[in-house]
Symmetry: C2
């Protein structure tokens, strides 16, 4: 029942982010009646809703006043730069409903999102067409990736490198985190042209605009930018096997001898029995893309070696994410 | 993210029950390609789907063959009398989608199910109108309640009683479990007339037809049947405060001096911070009913004492369920 009714707790958190509970409570504790009125909640379910968030550890409550738990305050207050709730906003607006068609996806193998009726259309077409929607998606990706990005900014032997290019950079959080931790590096964020304003704003906010620049491009039709290190975070899983291999081959071509390819995803454990989130993320790719899937570290190493890379190794980052680093 | 993306694992289990994975695997381990074909799954997501069920503990896998874990085999194989997946089938067909409107429910206080456009209509009207749908609902209720029912069949001082009446009996699982453990008792299952065939079949299946009989009635317009003990399992939470008090009062009237009222629900802890499932069940009542809500043991005791009951006490049953027993 905890798993079967798991969508209850999940949707409750998604609605809390939508309604802005944690943003409203960022300043100070608020008494129940006042909070209910500020959030525009009907009398009937308001207390159950807020107390559910208490029982789940997102809120605290004493003497009828509510406030954010420390983690919720840091990560779910929209006014803070540490906000990572974009992925929950997107889940609320899009994925929760699309996942309602999981059975159909399992029977047909076809994506169940905006692009469903388009058959093989890239899901990014619909997302990138509208600037507000695009910004929401890109910021959702930052939220999903930030912790792994910070780990990568620390774990790669960056001292030996001068330049990097982050492929499918989105808002640019990986490029920004790498640049922040490694002041000697210069980097490129590579993505479709529509992404430029969002990337530029984000790099500027973090004070790394002078060392990190945007390069517009389509990795299906163009070469990747040349750099000592090429990174791909939560990119390979979006694409089918042939496309994955093409991206790895293009990375090989863009690197110098001794250059590094760093790929990370919610990589499935080789035995395919422990990383539940990675397996579910792969089902999410079934829902969201025409051919994407998540994969094991062993599979990734095999594709890299096929492209000519050597010394490919898996390293766990944190949570469900692992990276594979390989040397040209 | 585990809670925010919790609907992924949840919907995966619901789809597995819908597709009949555990029923198909009840006889013997099945090799992947054969299983995929029997279940009618597309090649693309099949392995991720089944391996997700392995990682969640519902399936086991070795050398490419899958079989049920012991719990899944006992509780999720439709061919076994111990099957409790009806509640998951109903979640899959109904609740998952209705919960997509949680934010609207929180803003308006209005139910979000089949009866949504009807405003104050009872949710049971739509469910009871169709015999197949009714049977699905009643069997779902048995699945949700069986473990608590077995506990109640053991924990009440039944030796001192001769008769009981189970109010809102549905399929009759509580009445059946009480009768099975206590051969000296005779009982009544009380519910709307449409329920009779489902109840009669269930009582017969369990061999208690001679001691447990169905009585058709509407507890809004009629008196409750007289008995030494009156039970209400997962009933009070369906109704608003006035209706809850009315039901408790009618129970008082139907009992002899010294008779017992036994009420159970996923009762919320008095501090409203621990029983997450009870709090979420109350939000489920917001989604599913015009005025229902779950409640704490202390609230239930207060209503019972107001009706004239004495010595009301809360006792935990198991999981999220607790009962309150009171004496007339």
């Amino acid at each position: 029942m905890q798993i079967g009714a798991g969508f209850w707790a999940s949707k409750t958190l998604l609605s809390a982010v939508e309604i802005g509970v944690f943003t409203e409570l960022a300043d100070a504790p608020v008494e129940f009646a006042e909070l209910r009125s500020r959030l525009g909640l009907h009398r009937r379910g308001a207390k159950d809703f807020l107390d559910t968030l208490v029982s789940l550890g997102f809120l605290e409550r004493k003497d009828g006043r509510y406030w954010n738990s420390p983690d919720a305050d840091l990560y779910l207050d929209k006014a803070k730069p540490s906000y990572i709730g974009g992925i929950l906003e997107m889940s609320n607006q899009r994925s929760y409903g699309y996942w309602g068609h999981l059975t159909e996806a399992l029977r047909t193998g076809r994506q169940q999102n905006e692009a469903k009726d388009d058959g093989k259309a890239s899901p990014f077409g619909a997302l990138y067409a509208d600037q507000a929607r695009l910004k929401g998606f890109l910021s959702a990706m930052s939220g999903l990736s930030r912790a792994a990005n910070i780990a990568i900014a620390e774990k790669i032997p960056w001292k030996r490198c001068q330049t990097f290019a982050d492929i499918g950079t989105a808002q640019g959080d990986l490029a920004v985190q790498i640049a922040l931790k490694n002041p000697h590096l210069r980097g490129i964020g590579f993505d479709l042209a529509e992404v430029r304003p969002v990337f530029d704003e984000y790099a500027k906010q973090h004070g790394v605009s002078e060392r990190v620049r945007f390069q517009a491009g389509d990795f299906f039709t163009e070469e990747l930018p040349r750099a000592d290190v090429i990174t791909m975070g939560h990119i390979l899983h979006d694409w089918n096997l042939q496309e994955k291999k093409m991206l790895i081959r293009k990375a090989y071509e863009a690197l110098p001898a001794g250059g590094l390819l760093v790929v990370y995803d919610a990589m499935i454990d080789d035995e395919r029995r422990k990383n539940t989130f990675g397996l579910l993320m792969s089902l999410n790719m079934l829902i969201e893309t025409p051919g994407g899937f998540d994969y094991t570290g062993a599979e990734c190493i095999e594709w890299m070696e096929e492209a000519g890379f050597a010394r490919a190794n898996v390293a766990h980052l944190l949570g469900p994410d692992s990276m594979v680093v390989a040397v040209k």
